[in-house]
Symmetry: C2
Subunit: 112 residues, 2 copies
């Protein structure tokens, strides 16, 4: 289906404190996620290139050795295999976009 | 720079009635665009895979022979080379994401 309603999709748990809705196209994975205040994702990396766009909240984002506080309308892009870390300073609402598809996101725990 | 503030970037004109801010990473182009009410983009296609995510407004989106009215939180993904058309039923605010990079978007007219 070429049309996705992120308001109605089943919610999945991506990580402790990170939940939302995820969809996949041929070469991209697209997710709309809520991040609980205080959630920390320690430095990690993946071959997928990633964009994170902040819709709501304040998110501390570290890519390599650069850190920035992201707010509404700000984005980060993470090149392939570059370590990155996040800390949610408030509850956050984000759009994440990855290429290629994150195959492991097709098997996430459904929470309703 | 891995961090982008779409609130501060120079605005470009993408098409008649479509303006906004555009940024590029290694393999993706990411744009936050306003579409003027009444704007119609006739069927067109490109090799880039595309996701359009509606932040605000009502956008009639046709992909192949399927049409859907997109509203807040809804998205469309357009496979490579598939014809698609839009009509803005109200002013719309969208996030577009493409892979690979839309090289021609690096030369758009800056409008301030």
């Amino acid at each position: 289906m070429p049309f996705i309603n992120f308001n109605n999709l089943e919610r999945v748990k991506v990580w402790e404190g990170i939940t939302g809705t995820v969809a996949h196209s041929d070469t991209m994975t697209y997710a709309r996620l809520r991040i609980k205040k205080g959630t920390v994702l320690q430095p990690h990396s993946h071959p997928h290139e990633q964009w994170t766009h902040l819709l709501e909240g304040r998110l501390s984002f570290t890519i390599g050795d650069e850190t920035q506080i992201l707010e509404h309308g700000m984005a980060a892009h993470i090149p392939s295999n570059v370590p990155h870390k996040i800390e949610a300073l408030t509850e956050c609402f984000v759009i994440d976009c990855f290429t290629p598809v994150r195959e492991e996101f097709k098997k996430l725990e459904v929470i309703g």
